[in-house]
Symmetry: C2
Subunit: 236 residues, 2 copies
């Protein structure tokens, strides 16, 4: 059976009632890279919430770590920021984590009508594509979180990296095709292409060059964070 | 002075209060290709309205031709549809035209806070770029109309064609850069790239293959439809 791929340049472009088999949320810089890293380092479960207050309350309730950012920086009083490099095995192994970020967690909220929600980044692009190929899903939405409601190059590159790994025989909409073309045009230097993006510029000014190097490493992690019926992400 | 380019994958992504010096509305298939053609063939002025009823009423009031489409086809009782090939000198020379289309006219309505609004297509890409270079504008928004609220490949290609003609020294946001990369990747066969798009597929099924061939002809027309203070487009 053919699989239909559709892609969205920002989460705001996704219909609120989107009922696809799978919504793949992509926030390459940095929420979904954080998630892939945390699960690869033994995190037990992760909850994505929209407000700082919710994150504080729920982290308290569940004895979880609180993580995330506002303006790219760790929220006051949180255990962790939004740099994947902080999510080491020492910090996160066996722990529950509640995160809130500006773009990624809002994108997750937007696709709540999808039958499955997974978190994708360049880091776990191979693992995600392999899992999709095995899935038998009929329709998959590639949801670029974007930045502040606008298109982000790095999310389109990740969507293109994954769509390219799924092969050309899939039915694909125009934006999926555009992401594949962008990825192929820039694949020789993904780190460089990302560094030229607007969002990366802001991270570099905030001192997160190491995050950029790290998040550009394609296919290095095996975890595929998937949303469960209880609202928490886990990775099989 | 540097010119800042920002691009939008759909008109719905444009902030309602966008106050740029110029909003370039792009609806390659087919409203802005129609406009470039009509003015090149001597049309006196064109009004873009959102509803069929408005188009009928205003065409009557101004002794204008009524043009446009719903579902790609001419509206019942209208003088003209949305095929640029209908907008011949014989039909439109010296005439006023009121048009309503599904995507393009709504995109025009969206950017009403811009200080200037021009209509761009592949047909007039050279003329538009030349006029922008001469303008001294500080910020230009490339507004892809999209199709039914979704990204359209052909509009991104037109945005890329124009941005590429403006040169690499401009400040450009991520989506402008993406459009330029898409254009460069596909420039050798624009007609073929457009034919593979979703919107073109619908037009081909409706029998408009000739429109597709025609709208892919880059830089063949000199007109640059510009919105005046009275709400009508004219071309200097």
């Amino acid at each position: 059976m053919s699989m239909r791929l559709s892609a969205y340049p920002t989460f705001g472009a996704v219909p609120r009632d989107i009922g696809v088999d799978l919504a793949l949320v992509i926030d390459t810089l940095r929420m979904t890279s954080v998630a892939a890293t945390a699960f690869s380092n033994g995190c037990a479960r992760m909850l994505a919430v929209e407000t700082i207050e919710e994150a504080r309350t729920l982290a308290d309730r569940y004895g979880a770590l609180a993580g995330g950012e506002r303006g790219g920086l760790r929220v006051d009083g949180f255990d962790l920021g939004n740099s994947p490099l902080e999510y080491t095995a020492r910090r996160v192994s066996g722990r529950s984590i509640v995160v809130t970020t500006t773009n990624g967690t809002r994108a997750v909220a937007r696709v709540k009508c999808a039958r499955n929600v997974w978190l994708a980044s360049l880091l776990n692009a191979d693992a995600v594509a392999e899992r999709i190929r095995e899935s038998g899903f009929a329709d998959v939405a590639l949801v670029c979180a974007g930045t502040a409601g606008r298109f982000s190059m790095e999310d389109a590159l990740t969507a293109g990296a994954i769509a390219s790994r799924l092969g050309d025989e899939r039915e694909a909409d125009d934006f999926t095709l555009a992401c594949k073309i962008l990825y192929r045009a820039l694949a020789r230097d993904i780190r460089g292409a990302m560094a030229g993006s607007e969002h990366a510029g802001r991270l570099l000014r905030l001192g997160f060059a190491g995050d950029l190097d790290y998040c550009a490493r394609e296919g290095t992690l095996k975890s595929v964070p998937a949303l469960g019926g209880d609202g928490w992400f886990t990775s099989a």
